[in-house]
């Protein structure tokens, strides 16, 4: 049955439509694949029984001619999405056995479209991290290995478990969330496609908040077309999320093969950072050439405030997080470390419940919002954010998309950078600006590093222009012809 897990989502959909297999068969193959890749520690909760029930129901629907856009397709869900009746942890001890009584808007849409839930994926605690090392259940492992090196590699983060299971062919697709690069960077590290839609494109309702003004749901898949299919289901206005935006959701698949002739592609000078490895720079140039060869016009652009994006991000995101995570106080549910004194109960509960990285960000966030520091940090960071958004809107007056690398390196070993938060934060240097500006962006695998690890290219588009983003990505995907696959799990 291994062959079934080799299919992309769109290929599997076609086979289900043609009756070449059943949803139950497809799901059983993925349940088996998930079991086989357990050493990757990519799942927090597996839900095989639920998956099989959903698959049976899907087969019944299909028999009646009522199949939805994702009917019978097994996918994994980042454990940041609240799933009704299925424990939801955000990879944190503080949530204890929290089992939501409600289903997030995005997962509701997926189930309504017929998708089958395989389980909940590992992640950095509360989505804070770029390595998936900061999880209460331990790190998720990248299915890729560096040539001649046995060390486990990180899958990137925070959506590391989602990336790992999709790369390892144990799920057709997975949901992620991206706050500063948490979909795109793990996609790049694991050789798959990761899409962060425009802020407001997908509802945040029912997704555990990290940084509300930045968090955005998106898919991790093995092809650009799969990402287009997934986004079509996940996207849409939700009255329950005041920051979601009421714009129509186009048919993203329909325009996918439109080509890039005449498309204006911006190459931002400021993304050529000092110590960037030559192989990344070379891949970037190659990507630009591929687009040019298909008729796109390359335009040198400037995004002058890029250098300030990372520091601004690491003020804004922790500030919001420090407030968003205040609700985990040991009062209503989850972990409580008792004490007769209220303040002590709070302190013990939060000291035991939150991991070191989450505590670090809560402290940074509380600090930058404090009286006397607010103007110097939070307010200044917000001004930088405005300037960065302005850089992009000026650039987009002249170009349709912007091309950059996704990350400044390939995947690193588990344990590396764990003691150096600044080095860790630098992973997000290319992904954070689009997050601050709320723009849609995508990472797709475009080549291998010298160590034989996947490298990603990154496209950024105008607000709500995911259609153009996906069209450009499809052109790059075709030119790159990336067909490498991890040596480990899956087959």
């Amino acid at each position: 049955m291994g062959g079934l897990t080799e299919l992309t989502l769109s290929e599997a959909r076609a086979k289900l439509e043609q009756g070449e297999m059943s949803a139950v068969e497809l799901t059983e193959a993925h349940i088996a694949a998930l079991e086989a890749v357990r050493p990757l520690n990519a799942m927090i909760t597996e839900t095989p029984e639920r998956a099989l029930r959903m698959a049976r129901e899907s087969d019944e629907r299909r028999a009646k001619g009522q199949a939805g856009a994702l009917d019978g397709l097994p996918i994994a869900i980042k454990d940041l999405y609240c799933t009704k009746g299925v424990r939801t942890t955000a990879a944190s001890n503080i949530l204890g056995n929290f089992t939501p009584t409600y289903e997030s808007t995005v997962t509701s849409k997926l189930w309504d479209a017929g998708a089958v839930m395989l389980g909940k994926t590992n992640m950095d605690e509360f989505a804070m991290g770029s390595s998936n090392m900061f999880s209460a259940i331990g790190p998720a492992i990248n299915p890729w290995r560096r040539d001649n090196d046995k060390r486990d590699l990180v899958p990137g983060g925070s959506s590391g478990g989602s990336a790992a299971v999709v790369a390892a062919r144990a799920a057709l697709a997975a949901t992620g969330t991206d706050t500063g690069g948490s979909i795109r960077q793990p996609a790049a590290f694991t050789g798959i496609v990761g899409l962060k839609p425009t802020y407001g494109r997908c509802s945040r309702w029912g997704i555990i908040a990290f940084a509300s003004s930045l968090d955005q749901a998106g898919p991790l898949c093995r092809s650009v077309e799969d990402a287009a299919i997934m986004l079509g289901v996940m996207a849409g206005y939700d009255a329950k999320d005041s920051t979601s935006v009421d714009v129509p959701v186009p048919d993203y698949v329909a325009g996918l093969r439109g080509g890039v002739k005449g498309l204006r592609v911006g190459i931002p000078a400021e993304y050529r950072v000092d110590d960037m490895p030559e192989e990344i720079d070379a891949l970037w140039r190659r990507g630009a050439d591929w687009l040019a060869a298909q008729g796109a016009e390359l335009v040198d652009i400037s995004l002058p405030h890029t250098a300030y994006a990372l520091p601004a991000y690491y003020i804004v995101a922790p500030a919001e997080a420090s407030s968003n995570l205040a609700r985990y106080d040991g009062i209503k549910f989850g972990l409580r470390s008792p004490s007769d004194d209220l303040a002590e109960m709070y302190e013990r509960t939060r000291a035991e419940g939150f991991g070191a990285e989450v505590q670090r960000r809560i402290l940074i966030g509380a600090y930058v919002l404090s009286a006397g520091y607010y103007d110097a940090y939070y307010l200044k960071a917000q001004k930088i954010r405005t300037l960065i958004a302005r850089d992009f809107s000026a650039a987009f007056a002249d170009v349709d998309v912007v091309l950059t690398p996704t990350a400044p390196s390939d995947a690193f070993a588990v344990g590396d950078k764990a003691d150096d938060p600044i080095a860790m934060y630098l992973n997000d240097v290319f992904t954070v600006p689009a997050s601050l500006a709320g723009l849609p962006a995508i990472s797709l695998p475009a080549g291998l590093s010298g160590g034989g690890l996947p490298l990603g290219l990154h496209l950024i588009a105008k607000p709500f222009d995911e259609a153009t983003l996906l069209r450009a990505a499809a052109a790059l995907e075709e030119a790159a012809g990336f067909d490498a696959r991890p040596p480990g799990g899956g087959s």
Binding site: Y102, R204, I207, S323, I331, A343, S370
Partner: protein, 483 residues
């Protein structure tokens, strides 16, 4: 200027109020949960109110409209762009760990409120600094169990308007009048029911004292005072306490205090209950609130006549006294009731009956005017019977008392009890003639002593059990005795 006497001279008291008003709305500020008072604990709590993971606030438009109505009624500036901020602090009855409030950009800016009917007869303008919307917290219940605290989240997320005054008041009386007037306006427009017993309207009282003309003194803030009587007491107690400290050479500490009504004192809150650093920042779950001027204009058009305008009109149109007018316009229902009674009748007589007879009975029975057993048209019917001479004013009082108890209309009571006045001239004339004929001695005294007429009136009234029309009796007696 009202001053307080100290041992070393006069002191001026400076008062500002922050009034927390529960917005009249079926649902909470950011969730669809209900807001009814007195529901079973934790039965009016949505996932949003309980701050469950992933839940998001959505602004309730009704609450915005109520805030705008209130701002317009206070003649205040409506900010077309306002921002909701998070006020961060930990407490078990604050499920999110932050309260959504408005800090730097409130929905309503500067306005004013006019106080009339103060003791010195001068009217005074009190500045309204701002009005902002915020969530209420839940309730911590400490007395159910000696070792644990229970939390009721029914109130959590209920919309409050915080109305902040300038430090423009100078006496307990003025502060009491301010809150009374504010409450009256809120009730007129229906944005807050003003029920202080249920906590729908609570006041934080800021008090400082200074020598007349000196710089402002250090203030204290006494939290959550829940009656107008208590507001006045707090001001007197707090001003006296501060004066004593200053006259003893001490300094007033800027702090938050609580009022203990039983002990008749204010005392500092424990430091844990005090604010340290709320780390305010704009709530990223909510976009800035942007209002259309046309929408604000529509709301303005829908405002009812407000107390000041009504007061002026009553004085001008009905010729009522200031004091009577104040009583009538304090509540919109009273004013409406009065106008219904006064329509087509003598307004001053109507005002007298409403203020003295109706309000008196309502107060004794502890009934709101909306539940009055005597409707405005029924009271009007009673006044009509007096006007056309069917009953005397004296009888009308008894009829009114009966109306209040039975709810019957005046004519039915007069009919059933035979209380109708005898106004038949022929009937009374016959009685007068025979009375004079039977008492020639008294009749002959009339020329020298006209007061003897009273003896005749008394006899007629006695004979008719008071139902004879006194005007007619007098008129006939004068004529007959003078012949």
């Amino acid at each position: 200027m009202s001053l307080m006497k100290g041992a070393t001279g006069d002191w001026e008291v400076v008062i500002g109020c922050e009034v927390h008003c529960q917005v009249v709305s079926a649902a909470k500020l950011f969730s669809g949960a209900g807001t009814a008072f007195g529901a079973e604990p934790n039965t009016q709590v949505s996932l949003v109110d309980a701050a469950m993971p992933g839940m998001l606030p959505v602004i309730n438009k009704v609450c915005i409209e109520q805030a705008v109505r209130t701002g317009l009624a206070l003649g205040a500036e409506i900010n077309l762009v306002s921002v909701f901020d998070r006020k961060n602090y930990f407490y078990p009855d604050l499920p999110a760990g932050y309260q959504i409030s408005q800090f730097t950009r409130p929905i309503v800016g500067y306005g004013t409120l006019t106080l009339d009917g103060l003791e010195d007869g001068v009217s005074r303008e009190i500045g309204i600094t701002r009005l902002h919307l915020e969530q209420d917290a839940g309730k911590s219940i400490h007395d159910r169990d000696p070792r644990t605290t229970h939390v009721d989240l029914n109130r959590a997320g209920v919309a409050l308007m915080e109305i902040v005054s300038e430090p423009d008041m100078r006496s307990a009386e003025e502060a009491g009048a301010f809150v009374t007037k504010l409450r009256s306006i809120l009730r007129y427009i229906g944005s807050c029911d003003g029920n202080m017993e249920e906590g729908s309207l609570r006041c934080d009282v800021n008090v400082s004292v200074r020598r007349p003309g000196a710089e402002l003194g250090t203030r204290t803030e006494t939290k959550n005072v829940n009656s107008i009587r208590f507001i006045k007491r707090v001001i007197e107690i707090e001003a006296r306490r501060q004066i004593e400290i200053l006259e003893d050479g001490g300094r007033v500490t800027q702090e938050t205090r609580l009022f203990d009504a039983d002990k008749g004192e204010t005392r500092p809150m424990r430091s844990k209950e005090e604010s340290h650093d709320y780390r305010y920042f704009p709530d990223p779950d909510l976009l800035p609130l942007v209002l259309e001027q046309s929408w604000v204009d529509e709301i303005a058009k829908g405002l009812p006549e407000l107390p000041d305008a009504k007061r002026a009109r009553f004085i001008a149109d009905y010729g009522l006294t200031d004091a009577d007018t104040d009583q009538l316009v304090a509540e919109r229902e009273s004013a409406d009731y009065f106008e219904a009674v006064a329509k087509g009748r003598d307004a001053r007589i109507a005002a007298n009956w409403v203020i003295h007879d109706l309000f008196g009975q309502l107060n004794r029975a502890e009934v709101e005017i909306g539940q009055s057993p005597v409707s405005a048209s029924a009271l009007g019917g009673l006044l009509d019977l007096i006007a056309d001479g069917s009953i005397s004013g004296r009888t009308a009082k008894d009829v009114f008392a009966e109306m209040f108890i039975s709810g019957q209309d005046a004519a039915a009571i007069v009919e059933a009890k035979g209380l109708g006045q005898i106004s038949d001239q022929g009937e009374i004339e016959t009685m007068v003639d025979s009375l004079i004929a039977d008492n020639p001695d008294q009749a002959s005294q009339f020329a020298d002593n006209p007061k003897v007429i009273g003896w005749f009136v008394g006899r007629i009234m006695q004979a008719t059990k008071g139902k004879a029309n006194p005007g007619l009796v007098n008129e006939l007696l004068k004529r007959k005795l003078g012949e």
